[in-house]
Amino acid sequence: MTHIPGIAFQILQSMFVVLAAPLLVGWVNQCRAWLQNRSAPSILLPYYTLAKLFHKDAVIARNASPLFHLTPYVLFGCMWLAAGIVPVLATDLPFAPAADIIALVGVFALARVFSALAAMDIGTSFGGMGARREMLIGFLAEPAMLMTLFTAAFISGSTQLTTIVETLAHREFAIYPSLAFAAVAFLMVLLAENARIPIDNPTTHLELTMIHEATILEYSARHLALIEWAMAIKLFAYMTIGIALFLPWGIAEAGNWAALPLAFAALAVKLVLAGAGLALIETVLAKLRLFLAPEFLSTAFLLAVLGMLTHFLLLT
């Protein structure tokens, strides 16, 4: 029975992540518009878009299989689950023992597999091309992501995300070169996995360059809304993983409800800064050619491995 506040908190946090995710996307879009000297859309625009899409009638190709109908719900479910595992506000998460960081990467991979299958399901050429590219990026980004998380896991001696964050938040101040490497690698993976600019342009519908957009071309109305929402949650989850691993200060501890407002304020400040930083990266960088994406991601992998190796070497 002692778990009841924890479970209440767990539900609260997942709902918070799901509801706040479009706001983060709106903030990033707003920052990007400012940086590009455009007049910015409302920060609430993603909510309006979602509401509009939910009220439309879905148009689905005649030869679509049940998999195609199912995929948006799977995607949304996966991302919601990920949002439940990541310590966003506090480390007291009763669901967290269900999945460690390896399972978390697996959840993201599951979503990717479904999205690629659904893209190929209709049989259009764009869908197939998008699916192939998405899998290419995914299979290169995944090892880099795992290595990044392993570096943090080695420092704290656990693969449990909540334990890692607790250890990292409580250590005395010390410079960890390994964490610096891991942070840079994680940033590169974040850009690649969320279809952001050096790898993919989230706003383009140009046939030759789009990766993620090509996989969801056939979706409309509520399905599209669910996918877009899932992508927003994914971006939010990745950002909060990054914040939890590399800037964990201010997170509320197990059973300490009084620290929640402070944790909330700290998270808001960090997310505002991270969103502005992401918009800045997207403004100053140009999109890489697709064939340079493996090089970008192998650099991320290299950095993550170096981080892990330097952790062992500089331990003494």
């Binding site: 010390a174 410079i175 070169p177 390994s178 610096a180 490497f181 493996p294 090089e295 192998s298 650099t299 290299l302 950095l303 491995v305 170096l306 190796l309 330097t310 062992f312 070497l313 500089l314 331990l315 003494t316």
Partner: protein, 220 residues
Amino acid sequence: MSQSISSQLVNLLAAFLLLLAFAMLSQRRILTLIRLFAWQGAALAVSTAIVAWSTGQTHLYFSVALTLLLKVILIPWVLHRLIDRLFVRWDVETLINIPATMLIGIGLVIFAFALAAPISQMANTLTRSTLGIAMASVLLSFLMMIVRRKAVPQVIGFLAMENGLFFAATSATYGMPLVVELGVALDVLVGTFIFGIFFFHIREQFDSLDIRHMEKLKED
């Protein structure tokens, strides 16, 4: 307290040095390569200065000054002049598959770390844990000399190797005696000039700095 902070700073700079070695390995443009080499020299000078300050080894300050003067200012400047005169400023070099080179590099780093681990366990200097990184950067510069085809990047690889050796000396024994260091510095400087003259000769002979042409012993 200050001992541990300076040790951490040296570790951080060592990691930065390793990162720069990898950046040089993956760099295609010669101009950026020279800039990276200058950065490597700067990181080396700062880490040596920290070691000198926290251990009170005054002779290390001379090596800091020497490194700054030679490897951050003079040699990059000479190399800039050289590539201007040789018109290879925008030479984009094609390497054998950069990701593969990086993977070989990771293998070398693991080898160097494994090799250095028993040595650093016995040592009790401030910088004992950076010996592996120093050895790794020597090996990486070596790898860079092997995989490059043009002459200028090979020379930069050679100079970077000297950086690595210097760092190894600092981390293993708090630096070599001043006379040795002066001699090495002079050698590097003279070597750079001789290489410069060689470049012009190679170019005159083969109309290119691609050293594959030198494998032919006879005129066709």
